[in-house]
Amino acid sequence: MKRFLEKAVKWLLTASGFVTSAVILLIIGFLFTEGAGLFREHVIEEGYVLALNRENPVKRMNAAQIKAVFDEDVTNWKEIGGPDLPIVTFRLEDADRYFSEEALGKQYENAGALIAGLVADNPGMVAFVPESMIPEGADLNFIEDRTISPGEVFAGAEWFPTATPAPLFGMWPLLAGTLWVSLFAILFALPFGISIAVYMAEVASERVRGFLKPVIELLNGIPSVVYGFFGLIVIVPLLQQVFGLPVGESGLAGSIVLAIMALPTIVTVAEDAMRNCPRSLREASLALGATKWQTVSRVVIPSSMSGIASGVVLGIGRAVGETMAVLMVTGNAAVVPTSILEPLRTIPATIAAELGEAPAGGAHYQSLFLLGVILFFITFFINLCVEFISSRNRAKNR
């Protein structure tokens, strides 16, 4: 009985030991399954077609071109490789501009034939209509429908997930926004983080350190929504005034908030690394007539470099993955940022802001999961870097 219990407990403990690994696998599995579904979705909204005049030779249009056409940014077919013809767009809502209610019929039963006729009469027209409406054998051209390609997702420069007829899932602006805001956050946090770490590890008395340590822990403990709220109420208006911005919500606001949030990670890890620098090295340096600062800058910091680097990389990881605070202060404009003073939007913020409105199972929903996959791998990679840096350090110290 006792032996059996020992066995059972051992089995149970072993199982819990592998829970984190299982969770990682499940995360990868679920995110991938949902995210990869995006590439099976069609460029043009499900169940709809883009109908052209028989004479129009254009066969293919990518999502960006479709959006440009329907936004009337592109007004002539020659701009997208067709004949020199002005473009006329037609959506179902436009039907009553062309036809009377009676002609369309009570249930729109005649609409299909009428629209087919309309397109057949207008050489420059493109109509966005449900596939089921178009009568069989209509004498029309259709834009070739195909599935969304990885190229237009990963390299696409426009994120318009709710655009019709063709949503745009270009993730580049989001990726750029994430990296941009994280980069600035780290640039702000770095001098502070290193200085505070040096100060705590090398300069401060035990009493001052005993005061600073809880300060850093508290900064780490404050929830990200509270940072976001503080940013929104204090930092955003402040920046708007100082820089005379039209809106204060900007990449800069996000970077400042993120810098404060990434700081505790950098300080804790870097301070630990410096305190672990052997006393014998400090003594050797001091005994040669070096000042404390010379010792710190020429011996302690170089020899704790890998620990400091780990802290910085972990801080970057924290900044890249942070959601709520960034969502609240960056203004969430999905454009490739050109200046830190403009609104921008990060990957986590996009997921948080849009998942609630994206119909489950649709392309938009799947694209958000794909963003999750990207985010997961960015942070996964960052963690592997930290692991690599610190394992190399362990090997060196042995």
Partner: protein
């Protein structure tokens, strides 16, 4: 090797040190340390600014009614009672998920796992999990618990998601607490005829407990403030009555603060509520950090007596 032939007295060519350099380098030390001191002070000020601002603006809002009443009038007045209850429920739920598994996992890594790649692998995975952004946990919780397992938006799904999120922290603190217990103590117990399990249960775990509990308290603190993981798994925008089962949605303080400060219907009327909610969140964090600090002090004192 002939050491004498190569020798020459180094005294013959003694360095002549630049005069005044000693003063210069002390001056630059003073400057550098002053800069560090100022930057450190600046961060202390930042913390106090954040805390002070929220306490100053929120203190007037907090009242008995604010803490015990549900929101009313389209969330422009009333209190935040359901959000407080929701957050406490989520803390409890995540603790039920994370504590047993996390502690067992830590025990396994420190006491059972044969040295080598198993421990390394688990530690790598645990570290990686702790680096996974909270929004990714949210996505995952939604896909697995809400959709695949069909729990719907519920306290259950939220607790599970938050539990997984705090798992790495619990595992790591358990592992570190147990690692510092000297092997001699285990051997002493085993030598008296205790089984491995008895040794762990009666000797190792009680000794590591103070530090494990400190870690658990900190993980609760983290859970209390997380928003992203519950956005799509649990949190309700407005759910004035208290939840009656684990399959109900609930309100939560951080989410409440988020919606009220970003998508409120009447900013003027809602801002005080936002300050009050932020203050309650801050108070929870302060209490948690204080508790953890006290635990740590208590533990250190005990160590000193030994």
């Amino acid at each position: 090797m002939d050491t004498t032939s190569n020798r020459q007295t180094s005294a013959g060519n003694a360095p002549s040190y630049p005069a005044g350099y000693s003063v210069r380098k002390r001056r630059s030390q003073k400057m550098a340390f002053t800069i560090f001191r100022i930057l450190s002070l600046f961060i202390v000020l930042v913390l106090f600014a954040i805390l002070g601002f929220i306490i100053y603006k929120g203190a007037g809002v907090i009242s008995w009614d604010f803490l015990t009443k549900a929101p009313s009038d389209g969330m422009t007045s009333g209190g935040i009672f359901p959000a407080i209850v929701g957050t406490l429920l989520l803390m409890l739920g995540s603790a039920i998920v994370a504590f047993p598994i996390g502690i067992m996992s830590g025990v396994y890594m420190n006491e059972y796992a044969s040295r080598g790649w198993v421990v390394k692998f688990i530690r790598l995975m645990t570290n990686n999990l702790s680096g996974v952004p909270s929004i990714v946990f949210g996505l995952f919780g939604m896909a697995l618990f809400v959709k695949y397992l069909g729990f719907g938006d519920s306290i259950l799904a939220g607790s599970l998601t938050l539990g997984l999120l705090s798992l790495p922290l619990v595992i790591r603190t358990t592992e570190e607490a147990l690692k510092d217990i000297p092997d001699g103590i285990r051997e002493g117990s085993l030598a008296l005829g205790a089984t491995k399990l008895q040794t762990i249960w009666k000797v190792v775990l009680p000794m590591g407990m103070p530090r494990i509990i400190t870690g658990l308290i900190l993980s609760l603190g983290r859970v209390s403030g997380e928003t992203a993981p519950i956005l799509f798994t649990c949190a309700a925008y407005f759910f004035p009555q208290l939840p009656t089962s684990i399959f109900d949605q609930c309100m939560a303080l951080p989410y409440h603060l988020y919606v009220i400060s970003t998508s409120g219907t009447d900013i003027e009327a809602q801002q005080p509520i936002a300050y009050g909610t932020a203050l309650v969140l801050i108070i929870i964090v302060l209490i948690i950090n204080l508790l953890a600090g006290l635990m740590r002090k208590h533990f250190e004192k005990r160590l000193k007596i030994k």
